[in-house]
Symmetry: C2
Subunit: 407 residues, 2 copies
């Protein structure tokens, strides 16, 4: 019998009523003669509420404690959904991440899944139970301490389980109907895509689309698990993420995405010697700070400037880490600004067709948006701009690349 993984996001489980509806959807799917593993997020804003609570008892909550704390949100959802399923006559079992055998490394709040011991899940599936797994959490391999996978971690849990259990598809149910050419709240004429390539989705997710976490897409691509993103409250068919979509489509740009969460840090006046860049970025990597765009100016008289971006929440920690380094390498100063955002165009077809960058820059110029930094991948072009220009930038790019039109 085919195995399906479903994942319900926090907004799809925000109330007892939502949970009962999710249970009904699970039962309908189960009645189609498939085996089901259902991964759940914490109800509504539970995770944020728990983090807030942590900050009310401690200015700097310990990572291990924090993970044990916030993991309870998904555990609550799993137990409730399992109850709701049983009350509909569907046998089910709720499992914490530990019970589901999800083993991670020891990076609290941003752990990575190392392995999944699926014996318990397989035993329960063999007993015709729907297996409900608390997403976002696992246990550190040796200590068995609870870890969490970071924001979007439940998506990662779902796709990782799909890979491990060789599921036919991983269905992600959320509060949006699928993947759009741009955020419909910013671009009213944005269009839902019926299919999208892993690579494109990865760029959209990494560069601002909050619909599905990029780690989940990466795992999906690696193990070739088709991922369906659909609205939990609707019967519409959502967007299917899979390999090799749209390779030859006429409209090469598939979506415009943006991210307000950008802080820019510039180290001014660095003596241009080998190893300097390493000495700055290695301690950041060790602290698990994700450095995004990096731009280094051409060296003038042995002196160079280095600019990079991080998430706003990491600004303070980043400055704390690099200030001693910049002093020791005798850089002139460090400046930073946090009122930035980034806007990107994404499309697999772009990699073999010239002129997209020029068209993007021209469009932004005409819309009066000043570009602070540029970064590109094979299938994405990103501009860092002032935060308050982001909506204008997204709308004008959506129009310029005619994304409202069907492929």
């Amino acid at each position: 019998m085919e195995l399906i993984i479903q994942k319900y996001g926090g907004s799809s489980l925000a109330s007892p009523q939502n949970i009962r509806e999710a249970a009904q959807r699970v039962v309908r799917r189960s009645q189609q003669g498939v085996r089901l593993v259902v991964v759940v997020s914490a109800m509504g804003d539970t995770t944020d509420d728990l983090i807030e609570l942590a900050h009310q008892v401690s200015a700097r909550p310990d990572g291990r404690d924090l993970d044990l704390l916030i993991s309870t949100g998904e555990t609550v959802s799993a137990a409730l959904l399992s109850m709701a399923l049983k009350s509909l006559g569907q046998d089910a079992i709720s499992l914490s991440g530990a019970q589901a055998g999800i083993q991670t490394d020891g990076y609290y709040s941003q752990a990575h899944i190392l392995d999944i011991n699926s014996q318990r899940m397989e035993r329960e599936l063999a007993r015709s139970k729907v297996v409900v797994v608390a997403g976002f959490q696992g246990i550190e391999r040796t200590s068995e301490d609870v870890t969490t996978l970071g924001r979007g971690g439940s998506d990662t849990t779902a796709v990782a389980l799909a890979a491990r259990l060789k599921a036919k598809i991983c269905e992600i149910y959320t509060d949006v109907e699928g993947i759009y050419t741009a955020d419909p709240r910013v671009v009213p004429e944005a269009r839902k895509l019926s299919e999208i390539d892993y690579e494109e989705m990865l760029e959209l997710a990494s560069y601002g689309s909050k619909v599905i976490h990029p780690r989940a897409v990466e795992i999906g691509k690696l193990y070739q698990i088709p991922i369906l993103v659909a609205g939990s409250g609707s019967q519409s068919c959502g967007t299917l993420i899979l390999e090799g979509v749209n390779m030859e489509a006429k409209n090469k740009v598939r979506g415009v995405t943006f991210d307000m969460d950008v802080a820019k840090i510039t180290v001014v006046g660095i003596p241009d010697k080998p190893g300097i860049v390493t000495s700055l970025f290695e301690p950041l990597a060790r602290s698990n700070i994700n450095v995004d765009t990096i731009v280094q100016n051409a060296s003038v008289q042995g002196i160079t400037d280095l600019t990079f971006t991080v998430s706003r929440g990491d600004t303070e920690k980043t400055l704390e880490i690099i200030l001693p380094v910049t002093e020791s390498i005798k850089a002139q100063k460090v400046v930073h600004s946090t009122n930035l955002g980034k806007v990107s165009i994404v499309g697999v077809g772009m990699q073999n067709a010239p002129g997209y960058a020029a068209r993007m820059f021209h469009t932004l110029y005409e819309a009066g948006v000043n570009i602070e930094l540029i970064t590109t991948s094979e299938i994405r072009i990103t501009c860092i701009v002032e935060e308050d220009k982001i909506p204008t930038a997204v709308r004008s790019l959506h129009r310029a690349f005619e994304l409202e039109k069907e492929d």
Copy 2:
């Protein structure tokens, strides 16, 4: 170095402010040069809120799911208290019941502790950490599924840990100042006891005093762990529960206690044959329904009536279980009433002194309280009376036995 167990109840951890205060108390105790294990309940009404949530998604929540659900309340408290301790400079570690090695049987919602694997706790204590343990929960030995110990389970956790770790004392911090001769809300002149015997405390706890759970007192008695019950918000010294207090005290009644949670079930017209009582009570025991008072009338012409009491919450389940049995044994009918309460006088000295029962019955008679059923132990006399007569009964007994006077 001496080991102390502390336990903080839900009302002592109801808000972030309360948690910070509990942390301060823990730190003060730790600075006295002792090792500390701290057991925590869920914050405020969390457990009730979670149970309410369960009933909103399922009319009859599954026991295993429910335990996984409500166990999260204590886990949250443990993580938060550990954070709060660290923010005060006290190294600490938060452990779930599973991580603390608390192994139970598989009776969900009313599990019993079978063993405690204390290796992890001992390792953390050796590292000079305060070990914060989520109370009320454990794991079933073989499945490793989460179980809960029932109401008052955190007291049980605390005293069981004290026994296992050979602690010098188990300190229970709660929202009352100690053990009183009667509930001060009902009897304003009630007096706090400085010491009380395990046996007396057991009877008080079993017969209505909500201050500490009887199971905890039993374990304390069995392993001879002194238990201090004190107010978390006060500096007063509380009540110490230990062996051999007051054996020869003049005033042999130590307290008056009551319980509103009584349902009476009468099976009328039972053919008086051997094995009949067993056939009624065995299925109740199997369903873990606690039958309290049992009274059987003398048999008249081979026919007898049997009356027993259970907690009100168990009424429906009890009737469900016994109705098929009473039909099969051809009893005439089953009647029940739920508007009853019980009032008890308790004192170790009572067992060797006559006349207490007579004085109790006379006092109730004079106060206009009708007695429905009577049950006694060596150190307790209990009368089942109408619920709305309970306050009158408690006050008149407190006065009759002069409990407001110092020993």
